[in-house]
């Protein structure tokens, strides 16, 4: 809501500066969004009178005016046509400063001297855009007087943010009322003197309400014989301060009164209302209307329209129709001041995608009692400014729309919510409360001792129950005066549960492994599935769709973190990063096939990826990051979480190199995948080098994380170590060999470590040589060589039979 300091001062005495006022209002809940000082924009502009007008000898479009400015008469050349001799005008003197033009200097137009300029309203900053002619001042303007005495140019414009529960503040009077409450001053509302003519309103108009639920109150007046012209300067200036654009006197008055009182008004050209009848009804099927903005609109069902006997002439509470618009030919007007249902108005504005100053007020709920006041205020102004004659009588379909409701306010409850007595003495507290409520125009109807009965004012539709009144008290009393306290501490609950602690632990380990944490959007584009080679029909393609996405890129909820991490790698390699090691802990969102209307399954995923393209420093240059680096990171995380008993089996995830990816299995369930990203995918993302990546399903991992640690007794007897080298076919997995070795004697074989592996001509194509060290140890005695030799022999036999291994001696 835009309003100015001087405007507010017309409605309430203010004994503080504009800055102080803005500060006070902010503290009391009306937030200042913008403040603009419009002082000293104009200098050396005075009132003058045109004494003669001649044509410019060479340019017929220009007039040469003689202008009396009291001390002297100036010759000024002017391009406008709307002035005549003896008009009073605003004269910018030599050296004058104008807001948009700057400094005015005398100059010659084809040998004719012009000493100054005749100003238009827009040049004075009164109107936005470009005014059609120069500004003609009222006859009573004093010759030679500074223009700033006629218009108070020195002002401060405030733009306040109004919360949606306070539509009453969307008016000058609303804000002035708040200022009055805060500063303990009196609100001054304009006095209205309606002089009705003999002619009755019923002669010209009948109003029928066919949709009473959507239009619970409709009031109106008829004003005749009006003179349509530009608004007077003071009104234009006020509209400028309020951020509105002047159109003509009638429209300007309805706009101004709306911003003054918060009640939207609409003026119809009375003579264009067919059948002299206004019908407030829902739209008919197929009905259309051309609105003031020149748009022909289809009316969706349940649109409330103002119609005459032939059809819709306005969208109720949103915008008038083109047909009954006020224009130069309008002689008589019908002025509407109604209360429209806020919910329906809201739905309609949403359907039309059309939000106006009027709808913005109706949809939040306006004062139920202000209709007549606002209408009469406008009628009064129209009779004064546009010389209109007000017909006697008015339309009012429901005088009793506003039903005051009584709310009981318990004094003790105020303290229980706010935590502090306004005053130690309870009766003094009560007096303070009553005083605050009085300032806000809440009526205290009865004092019942422990509680008081309060009736909120009609413009405070947001106040429905006791707590709403308590908030008002806190607000005006001042939040800053409420003492901070600490509540009694009951025993702290388990602050961070096991799940949160495991997440933290995994994150810390990954950071310790040198990975940088990233956070990426949960949205994905449907295009990523092709990019990461997910075939049609694959379960990963079954993603949650956003109904009305902002862009295609943000139209699905992700089902994997693979594309997210690849995007980050791409971003960084595009910026010359030579080593990218990243991880993310984030969710994927999986729909339930069987329950389409239930919430999706949200699974937490821990994913990481590495990519190296540069050579790094002296130590790093020989290291190429490969699948075993990514696997090592996963193993480190598991190690930290004390997760054992997991195995890796080959996997065929389409995003990975077909022979270089594996599944992590725990207790028969898949917990994650890892591997080298498929070269085609790498190519789709234009990433240099290889990417190795993992995804761990945290939800499946968590049940495998032990919640505590059990100590194992340290061995008392020495261990014996034997090395074992063998040659096997290339496709045999080392893990299977280790499993086989271990199975020979689960008790005595303590540890098996692969310490060497190579391929080469000397062992033959398709073969590899593996070397293990095997550690034997008993818990109850020192092992003797013969015992170990026996087991060792069995191991060799088993490996030979099972894998056709060649044991290297």
């Amino acid at each position: 809501m835009q309003v100015s300091y001087n405007l507010l001062k017309e409605y309430v005495d203010i004994d503080m500066s504009a800055e102080e006022l803005a500060q006070r209002l902010t503290i009391n809940g009306i937030i200042l969004e913008r403040m603009e000082n419009i002082s000293t924009e104009i200098e050396k502009v005075v009132v003058g009178r045109i004494t003669a007008i001649d044509h410019h000898p060479e340019n017929k479009k220009l007039s040469v005016c003689q202008v009396d400015i009291k001390e002297e008469t100036l010759q000024i050349i002017c391009g406008a046509k709307n002035m005549k001799v003896s008009d009073k005008v605003a004269v910018a003197l030599e050296g004058a400063r104008l807001p948009q033009i700057g400094i005015i200097k005398s100059k010659k137009f084809k040998d004719v001297l012009s000493s100054g300029m005749l100003c238009s309203a827009s040049e004075l900053g009164i109107e936005p855009g470009e005014s059609p002619g120069i500004l003609i001042l009222k006859e009573d303007a004093v010759l030679g007087e500074d223009i700033r005495k006629i218009i108070e140019f020195d002002d401060t414009i405030f733009d306040f943010e109004i919360h949606s529960n306070r539509p009453d503040l969307m008016s000058i009077i609303g804000i002035a009322r708040e200022v009055a409450a805060i500063t303990d001053n009196k609100l001054k509302t304009p006095e209205i003197k309606i002089k009705e003519k003999d002619e009755r309103i019923e002669k010209d108009i009948t109003v029928k309400i066919e949709a009473e639920d959507l239009c619970p109150r409709y009031t109106g007046r008829v004003i005749k014989d009006i003179k349509i012209e530009e608004s007077p300067l003071w009104l234009k200036w006020k509209l400028r301060l309020l951020g509105a654009r002047p159109i003509n006197n009638i429209v300007d008055i309805t706009n101004f009164v709306m911003m003054e009182t918060g009640q939207p008004l609409h003026a119809f050209d009375l003579d264009l209302i067919k059948g002299k009848t206004i019908i407030v009804r829902k739209n008919r099927p197929g009905e259309t209307i051309c609105t003031l903005d020149d748009v022909e609109r289809q009316l969706p069902s349940n649109s409330l329209v103002i119609a005459d006997t032939e059809g819709a002439i306005a969208l109720a509470g949103i915008m008038g129709g083109k047909y009954s618009e006020i224009d130069q030919n309008t002689k008589n007007v019908f002025l509407e001041s109604a209360y429209f249902n806020s919910v329906n108005n809201r739905r309609s504005t949403a359907k039309f995608g059309l939000r106006t100053e009027a709808s913005n007020r109706f949809e939040k709920g306006i004062d139920k009692e202000v209709q007549i006041y606002a209408m009469d205020r406008a009628a009064d102004l129209i009779s004064k400014i546009a010389m209109g004659k007000i017909s006697s009588g008015k339309i009012d379909t429901n005088e009793k729309l506003y039903q005051p409701c009584k709310i009981n306010l318990r004094i003790k409850r105020v303290n229980r919510i706010l935590g502090q007595l306004l005053d130690k003495d309870e009766s003094k507290t009560k007096n303070k409360i009553i005083n605050i409520l009085d300032k806000l125009e809440f009526k205290v109807v009865e004092d019942k001792g422990e509680y008081i009965e309060v009736i909120p004012p009609s413009f405070r539709g947001d106040v429905e129950r006791e707590i709403d009144i308590i908030e008002e008290i806190a607000r005006i009393y001042g939040y800053d005066k409420i003492e901070p306290t600490l509540f009694n501490t009951t025993i702290a609950q388990e602050g961070k549960n096991f799940r949160f602690r495991v997440i933290d632990h995994a994150r810390e380990t990954l950071i310790g492994c040198g990975l940088n944490e990233v956070i990426t959007y949960s949205f994905i584009s449907p295009d990523i599935f092709d990019r990461i080679r997910i075939p049609e029909g694959h379960k990963l393609r079954n993603a949650i769709k956003i109904k009305d996405p902002m862009t295609r890129d943000y139209s699905l909820m992700r089902t994997s973190l693979i594309s997210s991490l690849l995007e980050v790698i791409k971003w960084n390699t595009n910026r010359q990063a030579e080593l990218v090691k990243i991880f993310e802990v984030g969710k994927i969102y999986l729909p339930y096939h069987d329950k389409p209307n239930s919430l999706p399954q949200e699974k937490l995923i821990i994913a990481g990826a590495i990519n190296k393209t540069g050579r790094g420093d002296i130590w790093e240059k020989s290291i190429s990051l490969d699948i075993f680096d990514i696997k090592g990171i996963i193993e480190t995380v598991f190690q930290g979480l004390k997760v054992g008993n997991w195995e890796v089996v080959p996997c065929n995830h389409p995003a990975f190199h077909p022979l270089r990816n594996g599944k992590i299995i725990m207790r028969g369930e898949e917990v994650g995948i890892f591997g080298e990203i498929h070269p085609e995918v790498i190519n789709n993302y234009r990433i240099p080098g290889k990417v190795n990546l993992f995804e761990i399903d945290f939800e499946n991992l968590l049940p495998n994380v032990p919640s505590d640690i059990k100590y194992c007794v340290l061995p008392k007897y020495p261990s014996i170590q034997r090395d074992l080298a063998l040659i096997v076919k290339e496709e045999i997995f080392s893990a299977d060999i280790i499993k086989t070795i271990k199975s020979i004697d689960e008790k005595l074989i303590k540890k098996i470590t692969l310490f060497d592996m190579f391929k080469g001509k000397q062992i033959g194509d398709g073969y590899k040589s593996l070397a293990y060290s095997v550690v034997f140890q008993a818990e109850d005695r020192t092992l003797i060589d013969q015992e170990v030799e026996n087991i060792y022999k069995k191991i060799r036999e088993q490996l030979i039979t099972k894998f056709s291994a060649k044991i290297r001696e």
């Binding site: 939040y479 509540f487 950071i511 009305d548 919430l599």
Partner: protein, 339 residues
């Protein structure tokens, strides 16, 4: 004989000065003390002496032998010491070469801020909760006193999945889910991702993070809200920060408040970063609306509480002096590695 002994001694002393390494010492040892060494030979000749001379010469000879042994020992220690020094001299390295590091990664600045905030509230007896990001309209709006067609729904233009399911625009639904599942006292914080239909610019992102707090018990007041949040601001931003509470509107709290902290840059004097007002808005808060308590089956006459919520991105931007929210989601390593 006596002269011969003295000669030997003189001779070895002068030879010992020429010793270069351990081999030389060994050579001398053999030459004099070895089986055929000069001293050994002299010792063997002792028998040829008269019994009168024998003890005196014998003593002299033994003493000379000891002296030679000592002399060679001393030389040996000296040489060994020199050798060690020489060897170390050859083992010089360039200590300015880089360390062979594993390299430590970094936490994302948003998570850094979330953890810091969580720690503060955990220490004040709050418990961590979480809730779904894809949420029912009921939990996100209706149970929070924002019925259908409520104007406040505009402030949070949301991404809908179906008519009744949306991406949560705030973490507040966790309040309702928690209260539905437990009896007071409740004291929780919940952090997580939220989504709003905001076009991306330097201060808006369609995805962001929030921190939500809720405390419900008998006799919790607005004063308690001020107390807890003042402690929070002081721990998060420093003891010298001023805190300001002013009226704000959120349908699920009443009285509602906006919480400001004195500008981190100018300390309240007014500067560009605070828009010359000296204050920075950091969160919304308030006393839980009785309608919200009623919706979850708590009796508002018996229980009261407060709730608060803040944006992690905003806090991180203020704390680290970051001026563009997009940096958080671009994940540029040059940015991430600073935290």
């Amino acid at each position: 004989m006596e002269n011969k002994i003295k000669e030997v001694k003189k001779e070895i002393v002068s030879k010992s000065n020429l010793i270069k390494d351990l081999k030389d010492i060994e050579k001398l040892r053999v030459e004099y003390l070895g089986r055929k060494g000069a001293v050994t030979l002299l010792l063997r000749k002792l028998g040829t002496l008269s019994p009168k001379e024998r003890p005196k010469i014998g003593q002299l000879l033994n003493q000379t032998k000891r002296e030679i042994e000592e002399l060679l020992k001393t030389k040996e220690v000296e040489i060994e010491k020199l050798d060690k020094e020489k060897r170390l001299q050859g083992e010089g390295i360039d200590i300015t070469l880089p360390g062979r590091k594993l390299g430590r990664g970094t936490a994302h600045p948003i998570n850094l801020v979330l953890r810091e905030i969580e720690e503060i509230f955990l220490s004040l007896g709050f418990k961590m909760e979480e809730g779904p990001e894809v949420e029912l309209d009921y939990y996100n709006f209706e149970a929070l006193n924002i019925p259908k067609d409520h104007p406040a729904r505009d402030d949070q233009d949301s991404f809908y999945i179906t008519k009744d399911i949306l991406l949560r625009p705030q973490t507040s639904p966790v309040q309702i889910r928690t209260m539905e599942n437990q009896k007071p006292p409740v004291r929780i914080i919940a952090t997580g991702k939220c989504y709003r239909r905001d076009a991306t610019d330097s201060t808006h992102s369609p995805m962001f993070h929030q921190i939500e707090g809720l405390a419900v018990d008998k006799d919790i007041t607005f004063g308690d809200l001020k107390g807890i949040l003042t402690i929070f601001v002081h721990r998060m931003f420093g003891e010298d920060r001023k805190v300001r509470f002013r009226p704000g509107y959120f349908p699920f709290v009443e009285p509602g408040a906006e919480v400001d902290v004195s500008c981190l840059l100018c300390g309240g004097k007014g500067c560009k970063s605070c828009g010359y007002v000296g204050w920075l808005e950091i969160m919304g808060a308030g006393v839980v609306h009785p309608k919200v308590l009623e919706m979850v089956g708590y009796d508002p006459e018996e229980y009261s509480g407060f709730a608060f919520g803040m944006g992690a991105e905003r806090i991180a931007m203020l704390k680290y002096g970051i001026n563009d929210i997009r940096l958080f989601f671009e994940n540029d390593l040059r940015f991430l590695k600073q935290f």
